[in-house]
């Protein structure tokens, strides 16, 4: 039987209070951490095998070890809560349901890296999450977990919540630093990397929300126990997996990392809605290349998904059903990327609208085979010629479409129209539910929290 680590308090129906969090074993990790040296805490995180959950998968313990410790003056610990990757909704739920889990992780991270100032960079739309975090920070300060001389350790820390104003590029770590400084959020040139020169040119660690929430449980339960929760041999720990699209039961589940895509979609998400078939999916957000029914047995862990030609990304899967024209899906993605490009690099700023134009003409049947060649050429040129990972992420799905769905793309040219148009898009259908500020979380049912998980189907 799998015991949830991150979603223990998700069933409460409100943000867990300090009392509720402590009752579920909260702040035990911090109490243990302050009795160790910062280097020992970093070693435990390194031993756990925790890899960054924002998408890149960099080993967290190694990142912490990179912090420049010799320069005098302030150092910063920044949490990236600017969750704007289309299809992704894990950090929102983590912060809304169990804000102390994030706060404890930040304090331990701050202690391990000697960073006394924490920032949570959160997108403005996450009103509830920002409120829950503010409350949690207040409670933690009153209880002596935050502030001066934390638990008698001599270490002091404060945390502020920065509510952004909405722009996808802010999630890129160096752009995020510029945004925090009150500048336009363009990415910075690397090196120097943030652990050497980050916020206000000071040493800075930047971690994703889901990365940080694992830290408390790793320290309290020990790195081996956490690591062994994984399903695949190479993996470590647990992962939040989401599924959206035309499945019977869209939702978010905490599962051992390495859970196969098929099990996630067919068991946890209840399979496809009646009358729809699985056509493809974005395994971890809009910037991850497509996977097809041939890939359903892929184990959802960094290396396995990479081997299948995509990326684990955020672990939140968007399912495309057989009523979706693959070209139209790419138009939707490219509208997003062209709009959200920060404009810093020409290939991204001008190249993405160019690709979008060709995609639109393929979709409406007015493109030629030459246009497809030009589009592919442009995608290749955009891929490797920009400052940050935005542009490669933007063209990745289009490149995967040309690899996996070339026939469907070419059929548009041959017919002079979309081959699916006769069927029309699937009807607008959702199950009914309440629409108040409780925006239907109750609808998630037993799926959330992983309580229903009792091991792989035999």
């Amino acid at each position: 039987m799998f015991t949830p680590v991150l979603t223990k308090n998700f069933g409460l129906g409100h943000p867990a209070s300090l009392k509720e969090y402590e009752a579920s074993g909260g702040y035990q990790g911090l109490k243990k951490a302050v009795k160790l040296t910062p280097a020992e805490v970093t070693k435990l995180v390194l031993d756990s095998g925790l890899r960054g959950r924002g998408g890149a998968g960099f080993p967290t313990g190694r990142k912490w070890g990179l912090i420049e410790k010799d320069t005098p003056g302030p150092r910063y610990y920044v949490v990236n809560a600017d969750e704007m990757e289309p299809g992704t909704f894990k950090d929102r739920l983590l912060m809304e349901r169990d804000p102390h889990l994030l706060v404890e992780g930040i304090i331990i991270g701050g202690y391990a890296t000697g960073t006394g100032h924490g920032y949570i960079f959160i997108r403005y739309e996450y009103t509830e999450a920002a409120r829950a975090l503010g409350q949690a920070i207040e409670e933690a300060t009153a209880a002596g977990y935050l502030g001066e001389n934390i638990l008698g350790s001599g270490f002091s820390m404060d945390i502020s919540v920065h509510r952004s104003a909405g722009r996808y590029e802010c999630g890129e770590e160096t752009a995020l630093l510029n945004a925090l400084e009150g500048k336009r959020a363009n990415p910075r040139s690397k090196p120097p990397f943030p652990p050497v020169k980050g916020l206000w040119q000071r040493p800075t660690i930047i971690n994703n929300v889901e990365t940080v929430v694992n830290v408390g449980p790793i320290i309290s339960g020990g790195p081996e126990a956490w690591k062994s929760l994984a399903r695949d041999k190479e993996g470590a720990g647990v992962k939040l997996y989401g599924v959206s699209g035309r499945v019977k039961n869209p939702g978010l589940w905490e599962l051992p990392i390495g859970t196969p895509l098929r099990e996630l979609i067919e068991v946890h998400a209840g399979g496809m809605q009646d009358g729809y078939a699985f056509k493809a999916c974005l395994p971890g957000g809009a910037s991850t290349p497509l996977l097809t029914p041939d890939h359903l047995d892929v184990e959802l862990d960094f290396d396995h998904v990479a081997k299948a030609g995509s990326r684990l990304g955020t672990g939140c899967v968007t399912v495309l059903d057989d009523s979706c024209c693959i070209v139209r899906a790419m138009v939707n993605l490219m509208v997003f990327f062209a709009r959200e490009s920060c404009g810093w690099c020409t290939p991204c700023r001008d190249g993405l609208p160019f690709v979008l134009d060709i995609l639109r003409r393929i979709e409406d049947g007015s493109a030629t085979f030459d246009d497809i060649a030009v589009m592919e050429e442009n995608c290749d040129a955009i891929y490797s010629n920009t400052f940050c990972a935005f542009a490669p992420g933007a063209v990745g799905p289009v490149q995967s479409m040309m690899k996996l769905f070339r026939d469907e793309v070419e059929e548009h040219i041959k017919l002079g129209r979309c081959p699916l148009k006769d069927n029309g898009p699937g009807p607008w259908f959702r199950k009914s539910g309440s629409y108040t500020t409780d925006y239907g979380l109750g609808d998630l049912g037993p799926g959330i929290g992983g309580e229903d998980y009792s091991g792989p189907p035999s």
């Binding site: 704007m84 104003a165 959020a185 997003f336 959702r430 629409y435």
Partner: protein, 155 residues
């Protein structure tokens, strides 16, 4: 309008920061709440408090999706137009809202109640299709629900 008292508070708050310009986004939100959108006057005021040139405020303001440099309705309806909502009926949500409000995307209703805008993924894909009205998130949208939401939020 923003009161003299509140302006004084903001000046004091910013003067306590190590780097005053880090308050820029916070100031823009504050002025936008007070004026309805970020007016030219608000740009000047925010610049004065943060100690930067107004052009710098302009540069940052135009970067963000949720800072409006033009007048908007009392509440902005941001409809998610990203991939998960698209798979379950985003086009129909826009069509229904356009019909009910009598405006195109980017337009404001005649009574000044609503402005209709698209927004990238709201992080509520498990309850798609979704939209934000003011700061309230609504998911699992149906035509009937949208009508009820508009009635409720119009007041």
């Amino acid at each position: 309008m923003i009161s003299e008292n509140r302006l004084k508070e903001l000046r004091e708050h910013v003067s306590r920061l190590d780097h005053p310009e880090e308050a820029l986004v916070e100031l823009m939100h504050e002025f936008q709440r007070a004026y309805g959108y970020l007016t030219d006057e608000a740009v000047e005021q925010a610049a004065g408090i943060a100690g930067v040139h107004p052009m710098k405020v302009e540069e940052v303001a135009t970067f963000y999706n949720l800072i409006y440099r033009r007048p908007v309705g009392r509440k902005v309806i941001h409809v998610c137009d990203s991939i998960s909502c698209w798979t379950v009926g985003m086009d129909d949500v826009f069509a229904h809202l356009k019909m009910r409000l009598g405006v195109e995307i980017g337009g404001t209703t005649g009574d000044g109640a609503f402005t209709l805008l698209p927004i990238c993924c709201l992080g509520a894909c498990h309850v798609a299709p979704s939209m934000l009205v003011g700061e309230t998130l609504y998911g699992n949208l149906t035509p009937q629900k949208i009508d009820e939401i508009l009635d409720k939020e119009r007041t």
